[in-house]
Amino acid sequence: MTDAAAPPPEGGLDYRVAHLAERLAAGRLGELGVRLETRGDAVLLTGTVPSTECRDEILRLAREELAHHPVHSDLLVAGTSSPDHGEDLT
């Protein structure tokens, strides 16, 4: 949870988004596949990640790094089903 009494962190939102991207890549997730876009005062996360654990951790890190800004998530978890047909390359 964000501490409402704490002052907002210094630095522009653009730079904080960039720092989040660096943190996602450098951390234990090694995540480079999430797109981070500013939408006014909010940040939108999109992309497909390997597991629900990854998705939840990314969202936790984003809310931590971007405290005082709304974080919207449209992250998907990669599908693991078998295809029911192949593509014919004639």
């Binding site: 090694g30 480079l32 596949g33 497909t48 654990e53 990669a78 693991t80 089903s81 192949g86």
Partner: protein, 243 residues
């Protein structure tokens, strides 16, 4: 008909164990070979490679792989390669392998590849040593792919497939921000494929890209990054040699 299953960018970590195995166990019913187009791990650690190894061991179809940039992050690609080979996979870098399905001989030439961009919007071998080395590295990968495809010419294959992690064409990057295309692939890979000849090119790396593309020489290209295909693998049916 030769049935080629392929997926890339499975990015396996400790909690991934078993997520793909149930689908992979259906492969003997629907495919003759499984191609893995790199980024099989998150950081390229031996522990993550062991997760992949258990996922692909004894599947009942041959497995042919290239590594991706994630598989290099821990700077132990040789260990990752050894662990995957121990599980029975062919792991290619500037090399070719022929696997058989009945009487059919399936040739696969592979390299990780690298970036640089596409014609008219690409990096050049000029200026600072780092910049020159960036382009030269891609050129070495492309030369390795070309040589491996030419090797397959000698080995009486029914089909020849180029397997890379980085993309040979911009078509399959559609959906990615155009500004990052130079980090997603290089025309040098497509030039190698068109010059040496192939029946299909398969790559990964571009999670937000699209599945279908073609080289300027007319070789079909498929981006099989798992986020793109949305499944454990896709299957491409190629005609074999006419009798």
């Amino acid at each position: 008909m030769i049935r080629v299953a392929a997926v890339g960018d499975i990015h396996m970590g400790p909690e991934s164990q078993g997520t793909l195995r149930p689908s992979f166990e259906t492969l003997p019913d629907c495919a003759d070979v499984l191609l893995l187009a790199g980024d099989l791990t998150r950081h390229g650690t031996p522990e993550e490679a062991a997760v992949v190894a258990r996922e692909i061991k004894d599947l009942g179809v041959p497995v042919v792989a290239v590594l991706g940039n994630h598989d290099h992050h821990d700077e132990r690609p040789e260990e990752v390669t050894a662990i995957l080979r121990e599980a029975g996979a062919h792991v290619l870098e500037g090399q070719a392998a022929v696997v058989t399905a009945g009487d059919a001989r399936i040739g696969v030439a592979g390299t990780k590849g690298f970036g640089g961009g596409f014609v008219g919007r690409c990096a050049g071998e000029f200026g600072e040593p780092l910049m020159k080395e960036f382009v030269r590295y891609t050129r070495r990968c492309a030369d390795g792919l070309h040589g491996a495809l030419k090797d397959l010419d000698q080995w009486d294959c029914d089909v020849r497939i180029a397997l890379t992690h980085f993309s040979p064409v911009p078509d399959t990057l559609a959906g990615e921000p155009p500004e990052i295309y130079p980090f997603l692939g290089s025309y040098l890979l497509a030039e190698a494929i068109d010059t040496a000849g192939a029946d299909l090119a398969v790559h990964g790396h571009a999670h937000a890209g699209t599945e279908h593309g073609m080289t300027s020489g007319g070789v079909r290209v498929r981006n099989v990054a798992q986020p793109v295909i949305g499944q454990a693998f896709h299957v491409y049916n190629l005609p074999g040699r006419p009798d």
